[in-house]
Symmetry: C2
Subunit: 398 residues, 2 copies
């Protein structure tokens, strides 16, 4: 899909003559994926990060039998037949030495089981009966109240797979196994250049939203000061240390001042400009100085949609995550027709009413304000002219 | 549920005589909720935070009619009947002044519509026909290609409701409306004291997981150095500036060294110790120096479950969020019986196989390692002895 002569692709004052398919844009993106570098972080800081290498248990966990409850460690054979009416007297042993016949030792949950003991009686199963003496009033099976060696994990068992996004409970498990640090995929550095001019007093809407989206996708956004001509902004964004990806927002359309794509063509390569995607179709993809560059539209909703469907796909993969949209999904029935244009992938903002999907009343005109009220969005494939009532669709949930 | 004589509640070497219900623990927690303070943050930093006050549009958005597409602004009446065979010639006007009869002006999407114009012709609908001349080759309806004033939001319309967790698209919308900063609920400061002694070289599993869980629930965890006697740890955790909540982990059970609850009773009030919850039932709730204190079990899975069902409920509400578990849920059918004990709320780690729920094979013995393999958990109410195959249950998804 690389075009050899970007000058002839200048769409200003002419419109997009032909549009790339979303699939071809994805193919271009997927060809730019490089494996993430690994870095070591504290195990608690690893939560939410992508594990770079599998962690297997170095030894059994627990490493040796231990008390699974607070109580008295016993030899189960000693207390066979014990009842409240026929208690078995046991001698309370101090220290951590081996347990002799008819002896017992006070243990706390998690403490090593004394040698010789094979069960733990809870406090409701044993009563002090005199100085240094305890009456067992229930019998226990061997192993009762005991955590066996390797009960949670055997030596060599997988504790966490490579590529897993570490959950809080994973971090707790790895810490329990003795790992102070874990090796995780480094976060791709993404630089953002928001092109001017902006109205006086305007607040940058692109950086406000993209920082959180890039972080969600495993990257780290560094936003440059807003404004300046595209060539200067590109040069600043490409400065060492080289980023993994540059995002440029604004001036991607067909108007007289839409000079982002020509600037990218001049600085490197403009691979695609104009994608059969609504909104967001004026986005462009290319590279400069060996760094992939995504040009995103200036309209804030189009910018977010183009990020989600194009740039985000690259960020996720550079971070070691899967390419697909990261939203939770639900399969639901359409209640009111979702309108789309044949030939375009339409991203419809929808709400869920009584478990059914309907477009936002003013979606076509509501822009970002409608998206803010949406429960999710539906991606309507290019060959369809929408989804009729009763159709089942996948809703990507916000 | 406040007990007047904590000394008589000492459970060490005796076991829990009576257990509080989870509902009574929740009632105690909910009575400790105070409304969060508000703080102003940059609109981009507001993503993920709880909006402290509703934002309404100060004026119409857009404030005035503007071009909705790149192209030529026209008076639609001028181009009535235009076709490629019968084009309507228009004079290309420069500047931003009002549009006279049979005139047109080049506009970029988002630019103000010149006075007099009521539609925008795309570049496929108009062709330059000579110096300063453009031929309209299609007719347009009034309003075509125009974003009306207030089309996205009318003045006074709700842009984001108080209590909403700001999404990236909300931040973009509020920035577009001109808000540089937003007022959000301050994050409750949570202090964590992990009690010792720990084995030499042990890595703190509690802090590793709780930091991320507290952040998820809208709080900020400050972990104190691990170890030391409970009274000292409590005193350190309560130092000014006073936290909103203190978490103490470990030494909550019935063993000889389980001195966390007696230390809390001595420092303030031990309201509840021992809850009909599995795992996590040795947790305690109380207060010292006017600060709520939750004692969480030392076993890492029990600690996490007690955090989720007890302490997290307080963190979420102190942060302005709802009390309920924050996990996404699915209603699914049980494939293999989930075993529970009557009288206890059991938190069963489950996996989802072919859309059905089954307990992890070794859940009772697998501890945290089983939880790490789980897809979610099911909270089995106290009156039930489990869920039989075919029952529909709510899975809280990890």
């Amino acid at each position: 899909v690389t075009r050899s002569s970007p000058a002839s692709d200048d769409v200003r004052l002419r419109g997009f003559a032909d549009l790339a398919t979303l699939a071809s844009a994805h193919a271009w993106i997927d060809a730019r994926v490089t494996p993430p570098a690994a870095e070591a972080v504290g195990v608690g800081d690893g939560v939410g990060r992508v594990l770079a290498a599998a962690v297997v248990a170095a030894g059994d966990h627990p490493p040796a039998a231990r008390a699974g409850a607070d109580g008295f460690a016993v030899r189960s054979a000693d207390v066979a037949g014990a009842t409240a009416y026929d208690p078995v007297p046991l001698r309370l042993a101090g220290g951590a030495g081996p347990l002799g016949p008819s002896a017992t030792a006070l243990v706390a949950a998690g403490a090593p089981l004394p040698a010789g003991a094979d069960a733990v009686l809870g406090f409701d199963g044993a009563q002090p009966s005199g100085p240094g003496l305890v009456d067992a009033v229930v019998a226990v099976a061997p192993g009762a109240g005991v955590d066996r060696a390797g009960q949670q994990l055997r030596a060599g068992a997988l504790a966490a797979a490579a590529g897993r996004v570490l959950a809080p409970r994973d971090a707790a498990l790895l810490a329990t196994l003795g790992l102070a640090r874990v090796s995780v995929a480094a976060r791709p550095r993404v630089r953002l250049a928001v092109l001017g001019p902006k109205e006086p007093g305007a607040v940058d809407a692109h950086g406000a939203a993209l920082g959180a989206l890039v972080a969600r996708d495993g990257g780290e956004l560094e936003a440059l000061p807003v404004g300046g001509p595209p060539a200067d902004a590109l040069a600043r964004a490409l400065r060492a240390p080289a980023p993994a990806l540059v995002l440029v927002t604004g001036r991607t359309g067909t108007g007289p001042d839409d000079d982002a794509a020509p600037a990218l063509a001049a600085a490197g390569e403009l691979a695609l400009h104009g994608i059969a995607l609504r909104p967001g179709g004026s986005a462009a993809l290319g590279a400069a100085g060996g760094v992939p560059v995504a040009l995103l539209p200036g309209d804030p909703l189009a910018c977010l949609v183009a990020y989600e469907l194009l740039a985000g796909r690259l960020v996720r993969q550079l971070a070691g995550l899967g390419p697909g949209l990261p939203h939770a999904t639900r399969e639901l029935e359409v209640r009111r027709k979702l309108v789309s244009a044949v030939g375009f992938v339409d991203v419809c903002q929808v709400r869920i009413v009584d478990g059914q999907v309907e477009p936002l009343g003013v979606a076509e005109f509501g822009g970002l304000a409608a998206a803010a009220r949406a429960d999710g969005f539906v991606v309507v494939p290019a060959p369809l002219e929408g989804h009729a009532p009763g159709a089942r669709v996948t809703v990507h949930l916000y």
